[in-house]
Amino acid sequence: MSLATPLIGNLTIWDLAVIAGTIIAALIIAQLVSLYMKRAFSGRVRGKDLEILLKVVYWAVLVLAVLLIFSQLRIDLSGLLIAGGFAGIVIGIASQSVVGNLISGIFLIIERPVSIGDEVRIGDVEGYVEDIRILSIIVRTHQGVYTRMPNEKVFTSDITNYVAHPARRVEYSIGVGHAEEVEKVRGIILSFLQSSPYALVRPAPEVSLLAIADDRLILSVYFWTPSRSFTPARSAALEGIQKELVAAGIEIPPPRRHISLSGGEGGRGSVSRDAPGGRNP
């Protein structure tokens, strides 16, 4: 008996061996792909979502194998393909956004621009990432509002991750009176920052004279802080610097407005100049 001997109808021993081989190979490939994806996405995707994704991939591999078997059985699939094509178009149009979100979700999982717990801005939504799902990302805004963002929207939005790097720089502009010695003010601010737990030792804090404005000297203050402490660090350090400067008798001039009155009786008063704001962020 040769391999070309028909065994069942027109099916030869060779055909049956190929079909059996295809089934076995498909099962092995489906298992391996599932296992690989489970390892790759474990911890990145919620358990339930991962389960669904793995099932979809597993069955997709098996469906491909079935199509291969059909061709081995010499079954004409053209009619099925036309019907499938139409069905595909209809299903595709109906589930366009779902598929878009799913694919965007997979790319986001691979790229990982955000992780659970990160402080982020996605488009115009700012807050903490609560959950990363296969179709959406959940963000808790700073106001405590639950916001579900479809992955497709996330994927096409500008994403800012405030805690992706371990440290961030805090920047202030601080105005002091013209009569103050820059060296002295620098020393007070640096001394405070060197003892503050919020300001990192390295990179070292910097204080420099930024501008000599009409009514004040403007100093720029830079220091680095752990990214996750940025918000409390920014306000606590500014408060501390202000207290230290006041305690040392350093003048922090308030905004001033010069009004000059011209002419005698009936003369008209005019605002000649607005002093620059003197605003400290």
């Binding site: 371990p166 440290a167 990192l200 030792v201 680095w224 752990p226």
Partner: protein, 244 residues
């Protein structure tokens, strides 16, 4: 200060006051640190109070996972090993030992913590930072503030190396306690700007015993990676951000 105590317990030094005494049917724990007061009531099931040093990562605004010590520069010739002693900040852990298990009651630091960034702002790590003198022998320290690190620096390079800082992963810190906290580590210089730092799980001198391991408890509770287990060898921390 450190040890295991049966209530009542009192300790006072330099603005720090600790006490545990029976009050109205239960134990009252009280800690006063420079006017900062903490009070907790404990059920009578308590049998002992453990006062142990813990790694300096539990208080302060930032939770760092690495300790960075900066010291006066040390030049080491090719192939040589130099042993130095440094001081590091400690925090104090108060544990209550009940009938079934031991629970953390309080952690505090007498020193104000300071942090730094080791490595670049985008790939570095936040460290608990301190400057230390370099000693040839174990220095006398105030145990409530500092511990002693015995550091063996091995230069495996065929050229001289300059070292003025060491960074340790918290998993590499095996604290032992006597009158003060102590630990040992080895720093293998493997490149001009790289070294591997591993902790030794052994006491600095006789009479010291293993400090209560808050790190492993915390890691197990968090289901995080890399807990310390006896007999399990861990790879040390790789310093890639420079040695000085």
């Amino acid at each position: 200060m450190f040890g295991e105590f049966s209530p009542p317990y009192t300790f006072e030094r330099d603005g720090l006051s600790l006490s545990l005494e029976m009050k109205e049917g239960h134990y009252q724990y009280r800690r006063d640190l420079g006017g900062n007061l903490v009070e907790k009531a404990i059920s009578v099931g308590l049998s002992r109070l453990l006062v142990h040093p813990v790694e300096p990562f539990y208080t302060g605004p930032e939770t760092a996972g690495h300790l960075e010590l900066e010291f006066p520069p040390l030049m080491i010739e090719p192939g040589a090993t130099e042993t130095i002693f440094l001081t590091f900040p400690v925090e104090i852990g108060i544990f209550v030992e009940g009938l079934r298990d031991t629970e953390i009651l309080d952690v505090f630091s007498v020193e104000r913590p300071k942090y730094s960034l080791y490595g670049s702002p985008h790939r570095g790590v936040i460290t608990r930072f301190t400057r230390s003198s370099r000693h040839r022998e174990a220095p006398a320290v105030d145990g409530t503030r500092e511990g002693v690190l015995k550091l063996s620096v091995r230069n495996t390079l065929p050229e001289w190396a300059r070292v003025s800082r060491v960074v340790m992963d918290e998993a590499e810190m095996h604290l032992y306690v006597g009158e003060f906290a102590a630990m040992a580590a080895v720093m293998r210089i493997t490149g001009r700007e790289a070294a591997e730092v591993s902790g030794f799980d052994r006491p600095l001198k006789g009479g010291m015993r293993r400090a209560h391991d808050l790190f492993t408890e915390r890691r197990i509770l968090r289901l995080g990676s890399g807990p310390r287990f006896p007999g399990v060898e861990r790879k040390g921390y790789l310093m890639e951000g420079g040695l000085s």
